[in-house]
Amino acid sequence: MSPRRAVSGGRIDRLRTIRFTFDGHSYTGHAGDTLASALLANGVTLFGRSFKYHRPRGVLTAGVEEPNALVTVLSGAVREPNIPATMLEVYDGLIAESQNRFPSLEYDVGAINQLGGKLLGAGFYYKTFMGPVIGPLKGTRFWMFCEHFIRRAAGLGRAGTEREPSRYERMNAFCDVLVVGAGPAGLMAAKAAADKGVRVILADLDANPGGSANWSDETIDGMAAADWAAETVRELKARENVRMLPRTTVWGYYDNNTLAALERVADHKLAPAKGEPRHRQWTIRTGAVVLATGALERPLVFPGNDRPGVMLASAVERYVNQYGVLPGRKFAIFTNNDSAYRAALALKKAGGEIAAIVDLREKISPAAREIAGKVGGAHHTGHAVIDTEGGKQLTGIKVQRFDDRTGVLSDDPRNIPADCLLISGGWSPTIHLASQAGLNPVWSDELQAFLPPQATQNWVGAGGFNGGFTTAGALAEGHAAGLKAAGAPAAAIELPAVDDDGLDPKPAPVLEIKAKGKAFVDHQHDVTADDVRLAHQEGFVSVEHLKRYTTLGMATDQGKSSNVPGLAIMADALGKQIPEVGTTRFRPPFAPVSVGSLAAERYGDIRPDRLTPMHDWHLENGATMYGAGLWHRPMIYALPGETVEQAYVRETKTVREGVGLVDVSTLGKIAVQGPDAGEFLDRVYTNMFSTLAVGKARYGLMLREDGLVLDDGTTWRLGQHDFLMTTTTANAGKVMQHLEYLLDVVWPELKVQLTSVTDQWAGAAIAGPKSRDVLAACLTGTKADNETLPFMGIVRGEIDGAPVMICRLSFSGELAYEVYCGAGHGTHVWEALMKAGKPFGIVPYGLEALGTMRIEKGHVTGAEIDGRTTARDLHLDWMLSKKKPFVGSAMMDREGLVGEGRLQLVGIVPLNNRPVNGGAHIVEELYEDGPRDSIGHVTAMCYSPTLGKYIALALVKDGKSRRGTRAFVSDPLRKRFGPVEIVSHHFYDPEGNRMHG
């Protein structure tokens, strides 16, 4: 038997022993344990070190709001940090580590920060890292140096660097009623709604639905509350119209009753089952929501309230009743309300010794007084705990007489030995989701808490969420809420009977005991009551500023337990009431959400791929593929032993001297059809298309409305009212959207239809002096001679039985043709062309050779059409029609887009014949003291086999007038510097004789 496990009781499976490791030590627990309950059962009280001061910390809570006991779970080399031990179910083989300690939890070097407590107060980072403005360290980098170490010491868990192998899933769900929280209220609501036959989803944080029924000592309907809950859950599970989502955090409430929920599908197992994701991200669209999220108990703020052994009263009640764990031997209780007396009763029943109940109220309810008498130990009303004792474990408390109206301490302090202190500062309804779907929360003086706001979406609350703290009330409200959410009229039923213990949940309006020592408000971020006061002294009045300055409530627990105490201290400092100080709005997520679950199928192996029809052929023929957006395109077809450069140089040479074939299926293709198609193209292109003859193609340039270049490509006139537009691969979607907008919004009177046909056509460009001979060898139904198929002409025919459409146009600068066919015929036609080309020495070529030939020709692509260049910058002003307005024509001649100082397209020849890189800067001079005064940058470079040297394209300030001059390339990142000559971007065949021939 573990040292702190009660002999009997609890809802764990004592027959099933679980073995796990924490900080390298082996422990055992039982099925149904969390890591927190199992470690407490083993007598472990030290769970971690605090964020700033490295103070020893234990476990404060038993649930999702845990600020202290965060652990890292290891699985192989993968580390998952910052998991609350209170939410982690133990499983065989679990390996967990404490965080934020070095070298070990017991002996932590960083605890030295405690001595420097004054240094690390509110706004420490803001103040310190601005650097000293006076003194010997003024303007030095000394503080930057210190920051590195302090930052390393003050942090939460460390994430791993290994790739995370888990699978995540996203799921959509639709229902009529979503019930959030499966405590007594939620269960009743789900049952009432399900009885009306509507579709119900019931989501709960925990593995076992039941909420407080699982750890209260009450009876419902004559049976133990937990048994009643289990029975109700069984009943709901049997319904076809109910879906249960256990281990699920509903974390966001969005418009139109859309809620986000994270289901932890496999975190309670060593490995997910086959096909099972680790987490499932739910998007739930529902007609109505029942918020039955309960309430969270708040700590009291007093010196030493963070010592291991100080725990929330309700948490201890839960450890005792649900897990059969007594987290100490000798218990003391410190409270401002009645609810903590319930925990005292539970402890007593389980065999714990109550040393004292310290109640800061003078007057208490008869029910509470009766319990105090029953459990034994001293009962100090009108007293407060002013300090705690012990090192890494509580050994005793210091108590003094206290006036709950004035906050004044009097009389001599007395010591009470205890190794576990239960604290209760009252309860805050869990209104986080309501706050996302409602107006401002409403302050209740009586409960010293914010109650749910007025709804702006269709939700209804029940139970502790509403600020009611009795189980009987929860059952009644749950039933009514379920009916209301299901759209059914209110109807009274006989509700299950619950014993009323007569305890009064209303707390005294005291959350802080002002005594000497560090009293923590936000345990996770190590924010003390003095920090809040310091912020006030320094002039922070707004609660939003206070939060940011002190970082109160900004840790992973998002201030679930610190929000109200923090506000109370701020209000006190300002001399105002809490509602006047205001609350901060709760934003999603309610609890941390795994990033993997948000990415889900969009990450890793199930990311969509776009493959051209000839993809398999490329792979079978030695292509090295290259990712271009979602497309996969051949980069090179290397022969054995070839480098990338050798491969593309060979491919380029073969095209320039013979013939080559390249897959251009990825080009965007848009069918522009209708009686106004020509007029439409005239408006969107800078040049004329309405005058283009049928059976001809033209190179076109498109501007954005602001006058900068959008895209370029050829458009083919297939019929009087039928055009086929091609776009660059990267801009296909953008151009389509641009055209659709203009047609639909700006010129709806134009009779034009746009259809994306990118995926319908396969395209292959056959290029080189021998390309016509290859076509002649395989093309039937038409001729390919210069008369039938002149430059920019279009013919239709067949290749090996498949219909094709051929346009004679050239990107490479050689005699070339683009052969289009139905996507399903792509590989067939490609293979026929390769076969016909074999006697002519045809090679397939990839993007590298394609890029090399376009640089040699000075053609522009996305590297030059970068959203900042004009047609003039790219020497394309000859394409700007003066006969008609077009998109961008009114804006393209604005000040700043014309005249001197523009970056213009130029060619670059490195004079040392060494490669330069895209992105390298061009400078007029290389200075000794470091690179500066850039006049432009390299956009693309290659080794040109045609010219026998490295060449590049660049955008250079007033580049045209610099032709023939020298400059330097400056690439400090890659440490490449050297002289270059600025030349025309037309390196090769500027007259275009080869492609026209």
């Binding site: 418009d255 907008y741 919004v745 009114a890 804006m891």
Partner: protein, 100 residues
């Protein structure tokens, strides 16, 4: 957020792409009024409250919708086709193919 497309019915916002401020009017294409063009290309209203926006149902019928949305509450009070709203000055100097 749900937008009710007049063709397709209520659909999730992830099916739509935002296409900008719906209060803009494109000047006559032949206009050389730089102020007017500048306003069309760069000026955007950024109201707190009701706003006219253009959304394209890009994951559906691809129609452009003029949506009246409250930027404070996300409440959508009306949805119609953008083409009916008139976002351009009349294009007087050229005839369309249909009329020619």
């Amino acid at each position: 957020m749900l937008i009710t497309c007049p063709y397709c019915g209520p659909r999730d916002v992830s099916e739509y792409s935002y296409q900008g401020d719906g209060n803009r009017t494109r000047p006559d294409p032949a206009s050389t009024d730089q102020e007017a063009w500048n306003a069309y290309v760069y000026d955007r209203l950024n109201p707190r409250g009701e706003h006219h926006e253009i959304w394209q149902h890009s994951g559906g019928c691809r129609a452009h919708l003029k949506v009246t949305r409250n930027t404070l509450t996300h409440v959508i009070s009306s949805v119609g086709f953008a083409r009916d709203a008139g976002h351009r000055k009349s294009d007087g100097h050229r005839k369309t193919g249909a009329e020619a």
